[in-house]
């Protein structure tokens, strides 16, 4: 076992060597511009891109013509939300999303508001799941788009996508999903799920950074987005810019591998994750955040009350995890996702996200359990709050000096 151990696979994943192998020729011998239609260098590059387009499409049950390659999911989210707003603003100016979305969605929505659009940011229930009645009540005749993420990046909660898309369609709106954390991890099918636009990223599924895709439905209905990048009219005019051929080939290969291995991998990871979670929640005053049934197989977000997340991560030496604590951010605000579940700030500050991945082993999980238990115990010995809790003092009864 090599240290440090990587358990932050929701942030990014290591590239699978098989993906790298597929990409390598496209950096050197197959270097052509996929848009060069008049010589073999261009044809070879274009073949690589076309094949990748099929591989991506297959993973999500789409047609290859519906895949637009981008620089990553942030661009895909921006293109979908701003592009739909610009294209359909004569039909209506209202967009609905949720408060637990990724910043790429939330900030793109903020941008739309500046352009005169109206955006409703729906709350979620305590388990992180969107209440369908709340969604239906928010729908209006002016709603052109509903954007709800498939699986959450911090807590792993999976939204009822089929039901959400059905409500969007009932009111004549399009349905978009940021599926960055879900694609390649659980079955996603754009037709069965009623998805009109879907953002995905290569580096979360063992592919390279700097490449992603936007699925844009072509039939029933035919969806169009206004390009946000002007230029040579690549990608059916929706995304100009010379194609990142090696990256796209890598994304394709990454999708193919996920398609082949997802089923067995999800079982392996969820068993490992459950073991990790069960071993750690044995600790007093530890809580799992978010719905545990409708959840991605590889994520567990756990709050260890009375210890602070960043301090805890420092004690979890040789473990790469992440925390909802925002001790490093200037605002000192903890995770907005955890807060939107109704978690108190101190529990949000005390959270650790464990993200397992393709290269995680049982041995690593055993080590992580031991290190985390020791770290929590050690920091509680240092914690005045733990001492007060043990003495039976109600922390809410104390007048804290907010700073």
């Amino acid at each position: 076992m090599n240290l440090p151990i990587y358990l932050d696979n929701n942030a990014t994943t290591p590239m699978d060597p098989r993906v790298l192998e597929a990409m390598l020729p496209y950096f050197t011998t197959k270097f052509g511009n996929a848009a060069s239609r008049n010589h073999p260098f261009g044809w070879v590059a274009e073949e690589g891109v076309d094949y990748a387009r099929e591989q991506v499409a297959k993973l999500i049950g789409a047609n290859e013509k519906e895949i637009i390659f981008t620089s990553g999911a942030t661009e895909s989210d921006n293109l979908a939300i701003k592009g739909v707003f610009e294209m359909y603003k004569d039909k209506g100016n209202h967009i609905i999303t949720t408060v637990t979305e990724h910043k790429a969605v939330l900030d793109a929505c903020k941008h739309v508001e500046k352009l005169g659009g109206k955006v409703t940011y729906l709350p979620v229930k305590e388990d992180g799941i969107l209440d369908l009645e709340v969604l239906e009540q928010a729908m209006t005749n002016d709603t052109i788009l509903v954007s709800v993420m498939y699986g959450n990046n911090e807590i792993g909660v999976i939204q009822p996508i089929k039901e959400i898309s059905a409500i969007a369609h009932k009111y004549g709106a399009l349905f978009m999903t940021d599926a960055v954390q879900a694609v390649g991890k659980i079955p996603v099918d754009v037709n069965a799920d009623g998805i009109d636009l879907l953002a995905l990223s290569a580096h979360k599924i063992y592919g390279p950074k700097g490449v992603g895709a936007l699925y844009v439905r072509r039939k029933g209905p035919r969806v169009k987005v206004t390009a946000q990048m002007d230029g040579g009219g690549h990608e059916r005019g929706m995304r100009s810019g010379t194609l990142n051929v090696p990256g796209i080939v890598g994304l394709g290969k990454a999708c193919e591998l996920c398609g082949l291995e997802m089923e067995s991998e999800a079982k392996r990871l969820s068993a490992m994750r459950d073991r990790l979670q069960e071993s750690l929640t044995v600790l007093e005053e530890s809580y799992v955040n978010g719905n545990v049934e409708h959840r991605l197989p590889h994520v567990a977000n756990i709050s260890f009350k009375y210890v602070e997340g960043e301090g805890l991560m420092m004690a979890m030496k040789d473990l790469a995890v992440s925390s909802g604590s925002a001790c490093t951010s200037a605002s000192l605000e903890p995770s907005y996702v955890l807060k939107s579940l109704g978690l108190s700030d101190d529990l949000a500050h005390s959270s650790i996200r464990f993200g397992l991945g393709r290269f995680s082993t049982d041995e690593e999980v055993d080590y992580a359990i031991e290190v985390t238990k020791k770290a929590v115990t050690h920091l509680r010995e240092l914690s005045p709050l733990w001492e007060m809790f043990k003495e039976g003092i109600d922390l809410d009864s104390i007048e804290w000096a907010e700073h």
Binding site: E310, S325, D345, E381, S383, L395, I398
Partner: protein
């Protein structure tokens, strides 16, 4: 963000972790910060009849820099008179631990904890609390 060696040292081997009897009139206790902000420090001093600090203890809920700042504060407090201890400046802690700008609030909290502990002792022993007029960096 990488931590300085001194932060890591204090964090890994915190000095003077513990609890003094806060009902003892020779013990001053400062409890500052708030759980909602992710930092709570409790700093305690034991003072002798000559107003000299003979012992100091801390417990901190917070990040590594907060733990290190309070651990360092207890080291500095021991052997100082309460008047000299009042002069400890948060920027001295920043310098000693090489704290980055984003962690300066940890040193501010440690200074606040020192002053709160001294004032608690002063009030318990019939002295007026000293109001800090300092504007934090």
């Amino acid at each position: 963000m990488a931590y300085s060696d001194k932060v890591i040292d204090h964090y890994t081997n915190p000095r003077n972790v513990g609890t003094l009897d806060k009902s003892n009139h020779k013990v001053g206790t400062g409890l500052v910060g708030a759980p909602e902000c992710g930092d709570v420090m409790r700093l305690q001093i034991q003072v002798d009849d000559n107003n000299m600090i003979t012992d100091a203890k801390f417990k901190t809920f917070g990040c590594g820099s907060a733990i290190a700042s309070s651990s360092l504060a207890t080291e500095w407090l021991k052997g100082k008179s309460i008047d000299d201890a009042m002069k400890i400046d948060n920027m001295d802690i920043v310098e000693e631990l090489a704290l980055p700008p984003v962690k300066i609030h940890c040193s501010v909290l440690a200074e606040d904890a020192i002053k709160a502990a001294i004032n608690d002792y002063r009030v318990k022993n019939g002295m007026a609390p000293i109001e800090s007029e300092k504007v934090h960096h």
